[in-house]
């Protein structure tokens, strides 16, 4: 049997940046091939080449035995390549049936309905064909995406970081689905930067580092440690030790706080009561749609509450989850972004005038102090890597001398090294007397940095008891009160 997808000697550059360098990659029929690497290692670019979303400068793409210098999505689809993108591509106003029909290029009508039914039963996905895609939950939407990619005669499925936008149970369900497809002979490429995921679900693993293949081989013959070495190129960073905590003065006090659901979905926040003290690093554990967004954004003063009381003292700094659309203005220089975040009067931002040369000096010193690699304070924020963007955000959020720091999933999309640095900075801030509240979807990461953990389930806030295990907290997150 021929390989459904084989890439040979693929090279691709963006301007002066080499994204891929003579990469060889093949997927065997009926295997899940995990494509692992840090951010910017070239994983997504490689799959975009395979699916025809970008053209390589050199190399060949072999789809089911047919060789191409480059492909288009139409050619890729014809050879049975399906892609599940990170963002949702279904059209919200169309029904499940209409979306799949459109994606598969079927003729609309009864035959399409029958084919959808067959595809669903084969894949083990149950969705109501007549529901509008816009009315589906996040997990259901992702299943619709998979359905779209599987419809027709799909022999290889490309999944671009499917777990990055899903809650853990949804992600698990999705990957199980991929596994079942694999058992029916559909190969899959799983792009991920999560080691655990690659080891658990991958039959083979390929590690990309700086656009080149650093490792490729069967998953059962490597260890976590070896993979990390291949990903990072040097010893893995030391694990974060939870900071010691000497809670100080109360910085934030909330009683019976309720917030309406943001964006009309989820449970919102229901009558939460909590206290935050100086020097604490409080972790919020919650599944998507259980009120963590509402809690954090209301405490940061971005969303109004619908009931209850809220008292804060001092400056509040907030770090939003999406640093490229909400945290930074990519088209602005670093100096201008720093000026935006600073907000409250700085020596160079007093009254109606801005002293840009002082702002620029301040930014330059931030860059130097926090080892942020950028061309200088005049570099555009959009030109920085994710890790450097986040370091700048946190550096300026702390330079404002806040009493409270609220961070929404601050390590999202960062590689291991960058994430560790960010966690360290949060710990240092708490140790310096800032009251820190952080949401993180990864429970292990949360447990390693937080001094105590709050759990949100169904919009209700519970405190996990001291020394609670991962399992106990996990049960709380699913709303089983007896676990506490």
């Amino acid at each position: 049997m021929t390989d459904p997808l084989r890439l040979t000697g693929i090279s691709k550059r963006f301007g002066s940046v080499v994204a891929l360098q003579r990469v060889d990659f093949r997927v065997a029929p009926g295997e899940i091939h995990a494509l692992l690497g840090e951010n910017g290692a070239g994983k997504s670019t490689l799959m975009k080449v395979a699916f025809g979303l970008t053209r390589p400068e050199a190399g060949t793409i072999t789809l089911a035995g047919v060789e191409y210098p480059f492909v288009t999505p139409v050619i890729a689809r014809r050879h049975g390549v399906g892609m599940v993108h990170q963002h949702f591509t279904a059209i919200p106003a169309l029904s499940v049936l209409e979306n799949v029909t459109l994606a598969a290029g079927w003729r609309p009508g009864r035959s399409a309905w029958l084919r959808l039914r067959d595809t669903m039963s084969e894949a083990g996905i149950t969705l109501d064909p007549d529901t509008r895609a816009g009315d589906l939950s996040a997990g259901q939407k992702q299943r619709l995406e998979v359905l779209q990619a599987l419809a027709g005669k799909t022999s290889v499925l490309l999944l671009d970081e499917p777990s990055s936008v899903l809650s853990p149970p949804d992600a698990e369900a999705l990957l199980d689905l991929v596994r079942r497809s694999r058992d029916r002979g559909v190969a899959a490429v799983l792009i991920t930067h999560k080691l655990g995921e690659a080891l658990e679900y991958g039959d083979s693993i390929t590690v990309l580092r700086r656009g080149a293949v650093a490792f490729t081989g069967p998953a059962d013959q490597v260890t976590r440690h070896v993979l990390i070495q291949h990903m990072l190129g040097d010893a893995p960073p030391a694990p974060v030790t939870p900071p010691r905590c000497n809670p100080g003065a109360v910085r934030l006090e909330v009683a019976n706080l309720s917030v309406d659901p943001l964006g009309g979905t989820g449970t919102g926040l229901r009558q939460a009561t909590l206290q935050l003290r100086a020097g604490e690093l409080v972790g919020v554990a919650a599944l998507e749609g259980n009120g963590h967004r509402e809690l954090l954004r209301c405490l940061a003063g971005l969303v109004p509450s619908s009931g209850g009381s809220l008292q804060r003292s001092g400056v509040v700094s907030f770090i939003p989850e999406d640093r490229t659309t909400e945290g930074l203005i990519g088209e602005f220089s670093l100096t201008r972004n720093v000026a935006l975040i600073r907000g409250t009067p700085a020596p160079w931002l007093a009254g109606p005038w801005i002293d840009w040369s002082q702002a620029s000096q301040h930014t330059a010193s931030l860059l130097a102090r926090h080892a942020i690699s950028a061309l200088g304070p005049d570099a555009l924020a959009g030109s920085l890597s994710g890790g450097n963007q986040q370091r700048l955000l946190i550096a300026e959020a702390l330079a404002r001398d806040p009493a409270i720091l609220i961070a929404e999933n601050p390590t999202r999309g960062l590689d291991v090294q960058a994430a560790t640095l960010v966690s360290q900075r949060l710990g240092e801030a708490a140790a310096a007397g800032v009251a820190v509240l952080v949401f993180h979807p990864d429970l292990d990461e949360l447990l390693s940095i937080a001094t105590r953990i709050l759990v949100l389930a169904g919009g209700r806030l519970h405190e996990a008891k001291v020394g609670a295990t991962r399992d106990e907290i996990g049960r709380l997150m699913l709303g089983e009160p007896d676990a506490a």
Binding site: F14, L53, L302, L328, I329, L340, G343, I354
Partner: protein
């Protein structure tokens, strides 16, 4: 000078060349003598002191004032397409005020006329702001439609309440001397130019150096980051930006009445409100650049008149140049954006 600025200026030079080449080609193709037409265009727009001081510069005043306002609006994310209507609102109210100020001291009367024009434009701009913030009606649509309303009202005024005393011509009476902007002796260049230049420098400083100016930029480029990181009330910025542009368009209307025509009539504006959009975009919203592009467009239109007179070429052919210039600049912009961020250029 920074390299990107060089690139922008080079692009501009290319655009101008492209415009002139397009003009020469279309002249030749339609059977006109390109050389004599182009020389008439040059002499009428820039080449003679008569053309420059009495045709180009007076025309540039409303273009610059409107362009400056639209520059602010576009920066703040308000897509005001209604400068034409706001210009008429300003011109109408300025005429009405000016006609009733016969005996007043000149500086006071002129100031009242101009302020009245600006105020009227601003009030007219409140309509799309309210529609947007209260009902979510897109300002692109509301401002565009309000242009027709304003033109209709002016048409009624010059045939009714504001019609000249003899009731022969559909236009207002001439403004009393007290309400007229002073002229540079021997030319038609009026003091409105000084006002426009001062405002250009003022807006430039405002955008570069002040906090509100910075907030305008930030809210226009990325409203959600502006609110979340900078706590900037983007609705307020939107409203103020649109109102500022409407006020400046109204001021342009007042200055046109008080400095150029001294009377209100239908078709007072040869599309200043729309050409103003091109003026602002060609300058990439830069206030000082808007002065330059305003002069360029005014010169082209003044020269077009001369070309029609002296070489018998229809003046509308100049719109070929304008279109070619704008298209070339937009193309250059798109190309450089692609070059800067290749990752998005799938």
């Amino acid at each position: 000078m920074r390299p990107e600025r060089w690139r922008a200026l080079t692009a501009l030079g290319l655009a101008l060349t492209a415009g002139l080449v397009a003009l020469a080609v279309s002249l030749t193709l339609t059977g006109y003598d390109a050389a004599s037409a182009l020389s008439a265009l040059w002499l009428g727009g820039f080449g003679t002191s008569e053309g420059l001081l009495s045709a180009t510069l007076p025309r540039a005043v409303p273009l610059i004032l409107i362009g400056l306002g639209l520059g602010v609006a576009f920066r703040g994310g308000a897509l005001n397409i209604g400068a034409e209507g706001q210009f008429y609102a300003g011109a109408g109210v300025a005429t009405w005020i000016g006609l009733s100020l016969g005996g007043w001291p000149r500086p006071v009367a002129v100031a009242l006329v101009l302020l009245g024009g600006a105020g009227a434009g601003l009030l007219y701009g409140l309509v799309p702001v309210w529609l947007r913030l209260r009902f979510g009606v897109l300002e692109v649509i509301s401002t565009l439609l309000l242009n027709f309303v304003a033109e209709g009202v002016i048409s009624y005024l010059v045939q009714g309440p504001l019609m000249e005393p003899r009731h022969i011509y559909p236009q207002s009476a001439l403004l009393p001397l007290a309400a007229r902007l002073p002229l540079w002796t021997g030319t038609r260049l009026h003091l409105g130019m000084a006002l426009a230049l001062t405002l250009a420098v003022g807006i430039w400083v405002f955008e570069r150096r002040t906090r509100p100016g910075f907030m305008l930029y930030a809210a226009g480029v990325n409203p959600s980051a502006a609110w979340i990181m900078g706590r900037i009330d983007t609705r307020k910025v939107f409203a103020l930006a649109l109102l500022a542009s409407a006020g400046l368009a109204g001021l342009a209307g007042g200055a046109e009445i008080s400095g150029s025509t001294y009377a209100l009539f239908q078709n007072l504006s040869p599309g200043y409100g729309f050409t103003g959009i091109a003026v602002a975009l060609l300058a990439r919203l830069h206030p000082l650049g808007i002065v330059a592009s305003g002069l360029l467009f005014a010169g082209l239109e003044a020269g077009a008149g001369a070309m029609q007179r002296d070489a018998g070429v229809p003046a509308v052919i100049v719109s070929v140049v304008e279109a070619a210039i704008i298209l070339t600049v937009l193309l250059g912009d798109a190309a450089s954006r692609r070059r800067l961020s290749p990752a998005t250029g799938i």
